[in-house]
Symmetry: C4
């Protein structure tokens, strides 16, 4: 994936195709009910531009053109040849995560276990000594991991501040209480894999905790 050079419609739609493919997999796991959740990919670093799944659509049935381009605050960014679809309101948080962490892709899903875990452990979900932690870049032994939990808000700047304050650079995921999960990675496939591993870890924590 190229993130430098001119941002063309072709590159945006290539990104849209990847967003649609990964989105369909996550929707198939039941984590994007209704039209909930959204995925993004950084398509330009300077200035920061993300391709984000368009708002209000069924995340299991997106096509390559169901994509919007946003800038650092989640505002729509014009790209010649790309129809200006409405980005998700949460696009601003995606951009914030990409800026803060250097991630190349961000996944946001309404995974039920994330919301239940956020309710049970509002100060963060502690995990330790589980092999699956390697799937999110941590160690399987003697590594105290906390998945941060932040309070929900409809103001993406507030939510971004909370995420920035709570986030641990070693842990590529944050739970938004009463809402869902954000997870990220170097690219979209990696971000989906992190999402899958975090959800497994939360299911495990809920079962044994």
């Amino acid at each position: 994936m190229t993130v430098s050079g001119p941002l063309t419609a072709e590159r945006v739609f290539e990104s849209g195709a990847r967003l649609a493919a990964e989105s369909a997999k996550l929707a198939g796991l039941g984590w994007m009910r209704g039209t909930s959740g959204n995925l993004s990919e950084v398509v330009c670093r300077d200035p920061l531009r993300l391709a984000v799944t368009a708002s209000g659509l069924d995340k299991g049935e997106l096509s390559a053109s169901d994509v919007a381009v946003v800038g650092p605050a989640g505002e729509a960014a014009h790209v010649r040849g790309v129809a200006p679809l409405t980005p998700s309101a949460e696009a601003g948080l995606h951009a914030r995560v990409a800026d803060l962490t250097g991630a190349g892709a961000v996944v946001h899903v309404h995974a039920l276990n994330a919301v239940i875990a956020g309710d049970r452990w509002p100060k963060g979900v502690r995990l330790r000594d589980v092999e699956m932690l390697k799937g999110i870049g941590r160690l399987a032994h003697d590594d105290e991991v906390v998945i941060p939990v932040i309070r929900n808000s409809q103001d993406m700047a507030d939510l971004g501040d909370r995420l920035e304050a709570a986030h641990d650079p070693r842990t590529p995921a944050v739970i938004v209480a009463s809402h869902g999960l954000y997870a990220w990675g170097a690219d979209l496939v990696r971000a989906r894999h992190v999402t899958e591993c975090v959800e497994w870890l939360l299911a495990y924590a809920l079962a044994v905790g």
Copy 2:
């Protein structure tokens, strides 16, 4: 979707194709076991006519012609070129919902979590401060939502009266205790999305409640 002009067989079968497609998705989620559940779409407003999935068929394997047309009381309505299949007995309740709420489509599923929630909270399921409430048209914060629960009956007029008495115009869903869930929306896709979001909310309520 056109709901005025002459009600032709072509329009009924177009509706049948949409009913089959959405029905297959809901069946795939496990909410239409056996031949349970039914979906409908308003195909004419004046007089009120609904296309409803035909009775006794596997809801995961419908085709466009597995459709019946009914009037306001769920009675079969003749359309030239449409074979008179038996509508579901529950078609009368679909029509009542469409008339009462102005919805363009109604979904009825035997989602297990709806029946369990109806058992646990026979006076209605209270929900508040959850992001997923936006998926059913309510607010994520400071909005007290109650999914009504009504007693079951085999008499669709009784059931309709109970639904009318219990229903909140702001909340597009009602649980029928010991039975299942009714949900609705402007069109079939929206009604399916509402169904998915309500089921998620009920699963959440059962897990944390």
Copy 3:
């Protein structure tokens, strides 16, 4: 489906195709792990002959020729043009059910909820006032239904005697404790629908019981 006239290989393989199709659906629900479970269809009434899924195969991947023909005691019955595959050891119980109840098809699955329910209620699972009971031919109101539970055995004659003693002609299903579920119907699709509805009812009973 014809059950009179000469029993030809063609009719056996037509039955095999139906067995494979329904088996794949039940396997997809997770009720036929490993090579567990088996399905059968009556292909001749006099003398009694059943087409049964062949033993030791993956029930999600059968083809039309993965079928054996058995007589009243589950013994292999020769049909010209049909290779003598090993029938499941449980074929004798299928034949007994078909003889006892007049069912045209029998499904046996290792559904986890059936085994858990058999453990919890070894004298039978009581159900009453649930709409889904209509899916197994009973009433939604004021109808006391008991899904019988019988002790497991490796002797199909013993198991058949227990099933005959416990079974209620109005209820097309029996749980074999520590083992799984038998369900039946007029044809294979109906037998699968009954299986789905019984499993839903058992999941419900376990959740609210």
Copy 4:
């Protein structure tokens, strides 16, 4: 499957195709989240050589060439015409299992129920008098079965020693605590079937235990 004669690239890729097919089925069951888990098949007995799924890939989307060849200690083994992909670090344990048990194929998955059961019963999971035990080669009655549980380690030699010390030749599976499940069989399909049956048995034990 041939395990003697010259080990050609063709045989390795045939094995890779089988590994990809079975891996996709297990991933579809949710037991290989992220890039977790790995499958192997013995492709030569003397010297011992296993074809193993390559590391770091999505186990639901492997192709026939996503395969590595390893020797008895999990070290990469050169085969002309096969690109030297990185085998999973756990390949050494696969080889140890194949050597110890004579199995022709080994499956390792991160099935949640295995990890939960390992937490609940760190000295082994006792099972008895369940029909599904026949699916792992044991008896349905009067046969005391223990699925061993061993402590996790990142050192495959240590893990292999623990597995060798704990393993019961009659039971083709071992739980690695805080990690996942190893299961094996004469070939890959059998190893997958054993995996499915063990997971069912663990789900059952957790539900009734």
